[in-house]
Each structure stands twice: as C-alpha cells, then as structure tokens.
C-alpha cells in the first residue's frame, strides 16, 4: 500500500521541527529548505535528507537517491520546500 503525500509531508515537518528545535505548528509544506529564506542550515539539510532516505526505504519501499542525476537535475525545485520534497518522495512510488 502506498504512503500518501500527507503522511510524507507530516514526517518531513516533524523532522524539520526536531532539527530546528521549534514548535511543529511553525513548520508547513511551504517551509523553505534551500535559499535565503531557509529554516535549516546545510548540515541539518543533510540530516533531513538522510532521514528521508531511510523513511523512503523503510516505509515506502522505494530508493531516494539524492545524488542521482535525475534527482539532482531538478534539485532546486525538489528541495525548494517541504511540500516539493514530499511530492518528489511520494511520486517515487509506483502508480
């Protein structure tokens, strides 16, 4: 059974809240991950991607290879915010 976009986004929001030690209600799908308005530094972004890699493997049974050409060619949009990353992960699942 596939994991819904909402579940993936909730996981990512919780992870970002944990990494930033802030209240979860301050984190949304629109929370920016890269660029000048980002809420995580580069080290925390790596930790988030590692957590996403494990979540994708363990909960979604898919491989999230964030160094692959296909993922990184659109890195700016994939990593733009929590929502875009959640969408990318969700779409990795077979239809």
């Amino acid at each position: 059974m596939s994991v819904s976009y909402e579940e993936v986004e909730r996981f990512l929001r919780d992870e970002v809240a944990s990494l930033t030690a802030g209240p979860p209600e301050n984190v949304s799908g629109a929370t920016v991950l890269v660029g000048t308005s980002r809420v995580v530094d580069s080290a925390d972004l790596v930790m988030l991607l590692l957590a996403a890699e494990e979540y994708a493997r363990d909960k979604m049974n898919v491989a999230f290879d964030w160094t692959s050409d296909s993922a990184m060619s659109e890195a700016r949009s994939t990593l733009r915010n929590i929502g875009t990353l959640a969408r990318h992960l969700t779409d990795l699942q077979p239809a």
Partner: protein, 200 residues
C-alpha cells in the same frame, strides 16, 4: 572491515568487494549496506593509478582514466560512505594524495593533477563534514615500494626521496603509522590537513 577493488578476488585480511570506482552506480551497489551502517567509523581512499609519461605524449584516454580513478573515485566513495559517518555522529575520512604534488615531479603531471584535485576536494569537504563530527585528512606518501611504482626506474625513485625532508624511502608501516594516528580519537582536532610522509 570492507575493501573495494577492481576484483573481489584480491587477497586481503578482510572482506573484498568488486566495484568500478569511476562509476557511482557501481560504488553504490557495492556499498549499499555500508551507507546505512552506523558501525562504520572510517573511509580510507587509497586506490590510485599512475602513468609515468610526458603530458604531451599521454593519450587522452589515459588522462581521463587517471583523473576518473583518482579524483572522481575518491569523490564517489565519499558520497557513498559519508552518510554512514554522519548517522554515527563521528568518523574519519582519509584520502591519499602524493608527494608529487608539492614536488611537482616531471613526468607525473596528470597523476599530480588528479591528486591535487583530491587535496582541494578533501579540504573543502572537511568543512562540509565538520558539523557532523567527521574529520577529512590527506596522507601524501612519496615512493613506497608497492605495485604503483613497480615500473619506475630506481634512479627516479631515489631522486624523489632526495627531495623529501627525511631522505629515506618510506615503508608501508610508515604510512600506516600516520593513518593510525588520523584514525585515533586523539586526532579529533585535525581536519583538512595534508600530511606528507617524509616531509615536503
């Protein structure tokens, strides 16, 4: 302990796996379990190839093979194994360069270029890994008696040794002593450094 080589048949006192270090997919396939293993403490990138030749007479394919193996191979291995060290919260990465970089040895320009790239990469990567408690350092030996220099004439080896601060040819155990230091907990404040075996 896991070793990576061109073939898994190499004799070693640890598990050997085969991979083409110039191919990130091959590296990822060979070390997929290592990437997830929090027990992994260190990555040592010692693979290297060389071709003693003048730049003007070195075929493009040879140049590409040296750069891909020595520089890209190091980068791809770091990409694959560093996540395990980050998950662990500490660790060591040791990349091998060469005394040829500071000595600018004639006939080794391509090899030197690849290893200078390794040094630059390692220093910048050390900053990236620092927040995760992982150090990245470079060990740069002179001519050690290994297969890499088996075809290098004796007088050329001696000429390099004479340019070292310590003018004797280092042995494999001399290299290991430095690697051992960098692997130890006592080296936690050493990162982004190049240690020349014998001094340059």
């Amino acid at each position: 302990m896991v070793g990576l080589g061109r073939s898994s048949g190499a004799v070693a006192p640890f598990e050997m796996r085969a991979a083409d270090v110039t191919d990130p997919a091959s590296v990822a396939a060979a070390l997929a379990d290592v990437r997830r293993d929090k027990g992994v403490y260190a990555l040592i990138n010692a693979a290297g190839i060389a071709s003693l030749n003048l730049v003007l007479t070195t075929p493009a394919a040879t140049i590409r093979r040296i750069i891909e193996t020595n520089l890209l191979g190091t980068i791809f291995l770091c990409q694959q194994v560093a996540p395990a060290l980050i998950r662990r919260g500490n660790g060591r990465i040791i990349n091998f360069s060469t005394m040829g970089v500071p000595l600018a040895i004639k006939g080794e320009a391509i090899y030197v270029a690849s290893k200078a790239g390794v040094e630059g990469f390692s220093r910048a990567f050390a900053r990236e890994m620092s927040p995760h408690g992982v150090t990245v350092n470079i060990v740069a030996p002179g001519p050690i008696d290994t297969a890499l220099i088996a075809k290098v004439p004796r007088e050329k080896v001696d000429a390099v040794v004479r340019q070292q601060i310590i003018q004797r040819q280092a042995k494999p155990e001399d290299v290991w002593n430095i690697v051992s230091l960098l692997l130890s907990p006592e080296s936690s404040m050493i990162s982004g450094e190049t240690i020349h075996v014998g001094g340059a």
